[in-house]
Amino acid sequence: MKRQSSLDINNLTRVEDHSLPLKREFSLDIHHLTRVEGHGDIHITVRDGKLLDARWAVVETPRFFEVMLQGMSAERVPFLTSRICGICSISHALASIRALERAMDIVPPPAAEHIRLLAMHGETLQSHALHLFFLIVPDFAGTSSVLPLIQSHPDIVRAGLQLKELGNEISTVTTGRCTHPVSLVVGGVSKAPDKQRLLHLCTMIQERKPAMEAACVFFQSLILPDFVRETEFISLSNGLTYPAIGGQLVSTDGVIKDENEYLQMTNEYTAEGSTSKFTRLSRNSSAAGALARFNNNHHLLHPKAQEVANRSGLKSLCHNPFMNNIAQLVECVHILEDAEKLVNSLLDMELSEIKSNYEPKAGVATGAVEAPRGILYHHFETDNEGRIVKANCIIPTTQNNANIHFDVQAIAEQALMEGKNDEEITKLCEMVVRSYDPCISCSVH
């Protein structure tokens, strides 16, 4: 990547621009925040130069998936739960499948586990690329969306599109479609990926490593807002590999729980004025997502990804929420390397045994996966015929909502102390919410 093709990062200094008069009294009402998935509002009230109120309110309409799931056959469940989210449908399908397989004592064949992991990599790459290039970059470029950048900064847009396309292609080859997977089923996968297409994936990954490198150089050149608020980071951990599907539930405050003890890790509660619930563990809020995974598992990343983290100033234990963007970038580097390895081992495998037969039965279990935005729990109780008796889904953004809320308060407070004006405060609050890459429809489900 040529440096001159980078965005003019000086645009960010607009946030520091004091040309507008400082107001001592104002209210900000950001209705339906843009460049995020779903509907959320930010409310800020300043009186006499002091922050009176700062709130993150989720106003998304609920869909009641936990109710819709009641009575559904196990076989159909992943096809319904994938519809919780248009961005992380593979994670939802796999969380359901894992919960049902654990509840009904089904062991999927090793090849299926490989295929599923590769599918998750595809989804996370697609999701992170969407967030980094479509939703975040405009804040630094001073544009309202990525669309003007297609003309003004074609190199960086092309790099982003190449990575996003690669993510989608990995998902399509492994699950039949990039959104709402077709072949992820209880017991394994219904169809093995085509070997020709796997070979093509190998070439594609190789060809797109320069785009990844260009993305790293670009994001390292951005100056992220200087803001720190200590919190507790929760993620999966298995001690052997960077987490994706299943494992122990760990927090940076030292809490360790078994997957089935997810309720003790989440302590979900309803919050007035918000259709999404909130969660907490050791403090009044906690965080899930790329930064939480990094803080708990950084030593398990591919060495190339660790190197990018070092170069970008990302070091565990990092409490700056804006560094979640960098953690996503670091994960993309890891994914490209790990996906290449997985594709190669799938090419060496006989892909004849891909699905275990099973008899539906009564059981109860939790399935936890690391969705792009963090740890995702599905919990099911089945009857003798494998139909759902009771369902519960706890979404990454639900686990981030309280943290987002307190970050909005803290960053507004800090910005006021620094003498920033209402426009600057608005921008910083919007940016801090976006840094979590919230998936709001998902959090309400």
Partner: protein, 259 residues
């Protein structure tokens, strides 16, 4: 359908109760993306842009309606849009969200939110509330089909959806028929245009694109019966996207099991 005369289509995309997966398709097929957006003047698209203008001609409506504020938003959009598009299965038929309507509303709220007051209405598809000019079904919509329709709108050409069922596309792909594998597949009765993506992945078509135009429903039901396949499975599949309820005979209605 030559409603728009401008070179670039003044378009807006709005999401209601849904997963936003159909809107996301607009950002997919990355290698065609620059050309695709060349055809469009994006006036309002909250998910990817902070610009909000209300001078659009085409409005893509994703999702369904489940709260009073959504009704008001939709009516305003209808006033502005020259072409209002029901975008995706939720908008066209109600989609998976319609399963909520099988359960009493009070119990539904209580199960998820306990005693917290939550405003929610039974799910309604877009055409239950406003006139829809164009329907693009699919869960999610197929980006290729969307591209084709956008080009047709830009050039003022006729917009058509395949009238024949998924089965036709599936046979062209030489996929193994799921009925031969002992499964009920809605391919024989569902509108094509998805390239039979689900049966190609060896999972049953659940009918997200709604009924094909010329289908033989009695023969389809007879086929399921003849092969001794599960009536419960049939009910669950027919009701999955709420796209077949109006044509399914009473005995296959999923409602019977929940009442």
């Amino acid at each position: 359908m030559n409603l728009i005369n401008t070179m670039k289509l003044k378009i807006a995309s709005f999401d209601f109760t849904c997963c936003e997966g159909c809107q996301l398709q607009l950002a997919n097929r990355e290698s065609h993306l620059t050309d695709f957006f060349e055809l469009l003047d994006v006036r309002n698209f909250r998910e990817i842009s902070s610009e909000r203008h209300n001078d659009y001609d085409i409005a893509l409506i994703e999702g369904n309606i489940s709260r009073e504020d959504e009704v008001e938003r939709l009516l305003k959009i209808r006033q502005q849009a020259k072409v209002l598009v029901a975008f995706g299965t939720c908008a066209c038929f109600g989609g998976v969200n319609s399963m909520k309507n099988r359960f009493p509303l009070d119990d539904t709220i209580k199960e998820v939110y306990g005693n917290m007051a939550i405003e929610t209405l039974p799910i309604r598809k877009i055409s239950d509330l406003v006139n829809v000019d164009l329907s693009i079904p699919g869960c999610p919509v197929s980006k290729e089909e969307v591209e084709r329709i956008i080009v047709s709108l830009a050039t003022g050409s006729l917009i058509t959806l395949p009238k024949y069922p998924v089965c036709v596309e599936c046979k062209q792909e030489l996929n193994t028929c799921l009925f031969e594998l002992g499964e009920i597949c809605l391919g024989p009765i569902t509108r094509a245009g998805c390239n039979a993506v689900c049966p190609a992945g060896k999972t049953a078509c659940l009918g997200c694109r709604g009924p094909a135009e010329e289908i033989n429903m009695p023969a389809f039901l007879e086929l399921v019966k003849e092969r001794g396949l599960s009536q419960h499975d049939l009910q669950e599949k027919l009701a999955f996207y709420n796209a077949f309820e109006p044509i399914a005979p009473d005995e296959t209605s999923i409602l019977t099991r929940y009442q």
